[in-house]
C-alpha cells in the first residue's frame, strides 16, 4: 500500500512543525516509490490533487487544544470527524476541515486518517520554531519512519 504524508503549516514559529517533520522524512524517503511526503503551504486543499485513491493518508499539523505546549497527539480519525473541526484560520478560510470536505466529494478517502499533532504555544510572525517543537518533530518523523518500515 502506498502512503501520502501531508505536513500542514506556515513559516511562522511553531506552526512550522508539520513542515519540519516532512523535511526530515523527505531526506530519508528520497527515491521511495510508495511513499510521498509533501508540505501543504498555501491552504488546506493543496494535497488533494496529489492523493491517489487507496493510499494511506497521514496528516501532520500544529494543534491548539488547550493541552500543555509540546504535548503530542497521535489520533486515528475518520474523514467525517475531521469535517467537524472548527472553521479554518487559513488563507481564504480554506483549511484542513474545508480541504477534507472538498476531497471527500472528489475522491474516495480512506476509512481512517492518521493524524500527528503537537500542541503549540504561539506562531507569531518573525519567530523561529522552538527547541521543544523541533524535538517533537524529530520524534514524530522517527515514529513515522519506523511504522512505515513495519507495513
Amino acid at each position: 500500500m502506498s502512503t501520502l504524508i501531508v505536513g500542514f503549516g506556515s513559516p511562522f514559529g511553531d506552526d512550522r512543525f508539520g513542515w519540519l517533520v516532512i523535511e526530515q522524512l523527505q531526506q530519508t524517503l528520497a527515491g521511495q516509490q510508495t511513499v510521498k511526503a509533501i508540505c501543504c503551504d498555501h491552504s488546506g486543499i493543496d494535497w488533494i490533487h496529489q492523493y491517489q485513491p487507496t493510499e494511506q493518508l497521514i496528516f501532520i499539523d500544529a494543534v491548539k487544544s488547550g493541552a500543555a505546549a509540546g504535548t503530542l497527539h497521535h489520533l486515528t480519525l475518520t474523514p467525517s470527524a475531521l469535517e467537524t473541526l472548527p472553521t479554518s484560520h487559513s488563507s481564504h478560510g480554506i483549511g484542513l476541515r474545508e480541504g477534507v470536505t472538498l476531497a471527500a466529494t472528489l475522491v474516495e478517502l480512506p476509512a481512517e486518517i492518521e493524524f500527528y499533532g503537537v500542541e503549540i504555544a504561539s506562531c507569531e510572525v518573525g519567530t523561529a520554531i522552538s527547541a521543544a517543537t523541533t524535538h517533537q518533530a524529530t520524534a514524530v518523523a522517527s515514529h513515522i519512519k519506523k511504522s512505515l518500515r513495519n507495513l
Partner: protein, 433 residues
C-alpha cells in the same frame, strides 16, 4: 411609511485576509445609500518598511498577502532597479515573468473554482459544486498546484516565497528540476484550454456598464512586469509609472479602513477584465482562438466576464511559462550587482487582481524613509460600489433580502477582492422605507 431592517450575522472569522460587510438603504424603490464596509484593522506595512534597508523589502512585502506575494515582491524590485539604473539580464526578466505566471495561475484557479464559480450555478460552496462538477474542480486544483510549483521553483515555497532579491534571484533553479516541471506544464495545457471553454459556458447575467478599464500596457507583451510599460486606460490615458500620483487619488471614506482610489475623480476597473479589454491582441493565439469561438466580444462592458478573463489568463500564463522555459539554461549568476543611490523609487506590476503600485523614498545609506503601496483592492473598491448599485437595480430591488444578498455577494466576488474570504459571509443590512 414602514421601515424594515434585516440583519444577518457574520460568523466568527479570525485571521482571514479581510473582513467586509454591506449596508444598503432602499427608499421608494431606489438605493439611497450603499456602503461596502471594510473594517479590517489597518496593517501599517508602509510604516513597518520605514527604517529598513532596501535589501530587506522583498522579504518583508512577501508577507503582505498569502495569495499574491510575488506581485508585492516584483513591484518592489522593479522600483528599486529603476531608481538604481540596474540593468538586469534577459534571463532574470524572463524568469520573473515565469514566476509571476505561477502566481496568476494559482490565484486565478483558486478564485474560479473555490470562490466564484459556485455562484454561477447557485451552489453555496465549492464542495457542493464539486458533487456535480468533480472533474472540473479536480482539474482546477491541479492547475492551482502547478501554479504553486512554479512559485516554489524560484521562491523556495509558494507561501511568502523568499527567492527574490533586488537585482535578480538568490538562486537559479537546476536545469533538471526545470525540465521535470516543464513536462508537467506542457501536459496541463489541454486542461487550461478546457477550463477556459468550461467557464465560457456559464450563464452570465446580461449587464452592460460604463466603466474605464486600467492596466499596464507593453508594446508587444501581455502586461505582467514593469519593464517597458506605462499605465493605460480605455479613456485614453497614458501615464508613466512615476506619474501615478498625479492622476490616481486615494481618499478615506468613513465606512472603510481601505482607501478608495479614483482616476481623475472617477471609479475605474483594474484586474483581469481590464487587462484583457486593453491587451486582447497580445494574448497568445491559442487563447484568442478559444475566445474567438464564444459569444463574448472583448472589450467587454459586462463585469461578470471577469471570470472569463481570469480563465483566459490561466491559459495564457501556462502557455507563457512553457514558452519561456523551453530553452532554459542555468546562468552563471542569477542576479546582477546593484549600486544603490538615494531618491524616489517607483514600481508597478500586474498583480492577479490588478495594478499594484509602489513608491519608496530611500536615503544615501539605502534606508527606506517613506513608502506607499496602492493595492488593487483599494483601486477597485469604488468600482465595486458603483457595480453593486447598477447590478442590484438591474436585478430588481423588490426582490427578497436573500436574493439581493446572494446577488451582491456574487458582484463583489467577481472582483476577487482580497476581502474575498469575508465577503463570503457578507453582513447585508437592508433598510426599506
Amino acid at each position: 411609511m414602514s421601515e424594515k431592517t434585516i440583519n444577518i450575522n457574520v460568523p466568527v472569522l479570525a485571521r482571514v485576509e479581510g473582513e467586509g460587510a454591506l449596508d444598503i438603504r432602499i427608499e421608494n424603490g431606489r438605493i439611497t445609500q450603499l456602503k461596502l464596509r471594510i473594517f479590517e484593522p489597518p496593517r501599517l506595512f508602509e510604516k513597518f518598511l520605514e527604517g529598513r534597508h532596501y535589501n530587506e523589502v522583498p522579504d518583508i512585502v512577501t508577507r503582505i498577502c498569502g495569495i499574491c506575494p510575488v506581485a508585492y515582491q516584483m513591484s518592489a524590485v522593479y522600483a528599486f532597479e529603476a531608481l538604481f539604473n540596474t540593468q538586469i539580464t534577459p534571463w532574470i526578466d524572463m524568469m520573473r515573468r515565469v514566476y509571476y505566471c505561477g502566481e496568476w495561475i494559482e490565484s486565478h484557479a483558486l478564485h474560479i473554482h473555490l470562490l466564484a464559480a459556485p455562484d454561477f450555478f447557485g451552489f453555496e460552496s465549492a464542495p457542493a459544486m464539486a458533487k456535480q462538477f468533480p472533474d472540473e474542480v479536480r482539474r482546477g486544483l491541479q492547475l492551482q498546484g502547478l501554479g504553486n510549483e512554479i512559485i516554489k521553483l524560484f521562491g523556495a515555497r509558494s507561501v511568502n516565497p523568499i527567492g527574490v532579491k533586488i537585482g535578480g534571484f538568490h538562486k537559479a533553479p537546476e536545469a533538471e528540476t526545470v525540465a521535470v516541471l516543464l513536462h508537467k506544464l506542457r501536459a496541463a495545457l489541454p486542461d487550461a484550454k478546457a477550463l477556459l471553454e468550461w467557464v465560457t459556458t456559464f450563464d452570465f447575467p446580461e449587464r452592460s456598464q460604463d466603466f474605464v478599464s486600467v492596466s499596464l500596457q507593453h508594446p508587444f507583451e501581455y502586461p505582467i512586469n514593469m519593464r517597458g510599460t506605462a499605465i493605460r486606460s480605455s479613456a485614453g490615458h497614458k501615464i508613466a509609472i512615476n506619474e501615478f500620483e498625479a492622476h490616481f487619488k486615494e481618499s478615506q471614506v468613513p465606512h472603510s479602513t481601505a482607501l478608495h482610489c479614483h482616476l481623475d475623480g472617477e471609479p475605474y476597473l483594474a484586474g483581469p477584465l481590464a487587462r484583457l479589454n486593453l491587451n486582447y491582441n497580445l494574448l497568445h493565439d491559442e487563447v484568442k482562438e478559444t475566445l474567438g469561438n464564444i459569444d463574448i466580444a472583448f472589450p467587454s462592458s459586462n463585469p461578470y466576464h471577469n471570470i472569463v478573463a481570469r480563465a483566459a489568463e490561466v491559459y495564457y500564463g501556462l502557455l507563457e511559462a512553457v514558452r519561456l522555459l523551453e530553452d532554459y539554461r542555468r546562468p552563471a549568476s542569477p542576479a546582477v550587482e546593484v549600486t544603490p543611490i538615494a531618491g524616489t523609487a517607483y514600481g508597478c506590476t500586474e498583480a492577479p487582481r490588478g495594478l499594484l503600485w509602489h513608491r519608496y523614498e530611500i536615503d544615501d545609506s539605502g534606508i527606506i524613509t517613506a513608502a506607499r503601496l496602492v493595492p488593487p483592492t483599494s483601486q477597485n473598491q469604488a468600482r465595486i460600489e458603483a457595480d453593486l448599485r447598477l447590478s442590484l437595480e438591474a436585478l430588481g430591488l423588490d426582490n427578497d433580502e436573500a436574493t439581493l444578498r446572494q446577488h451582491a455577494e456574487q458582484v463583489i466576488r467577481n472582483y476577487d477582492p482580497c476581502i474575498s474570504c469575508a465577503t463570503h459571509f457578507l453582513d447585508l443590512r437592508v433598510s426599506r422605507r
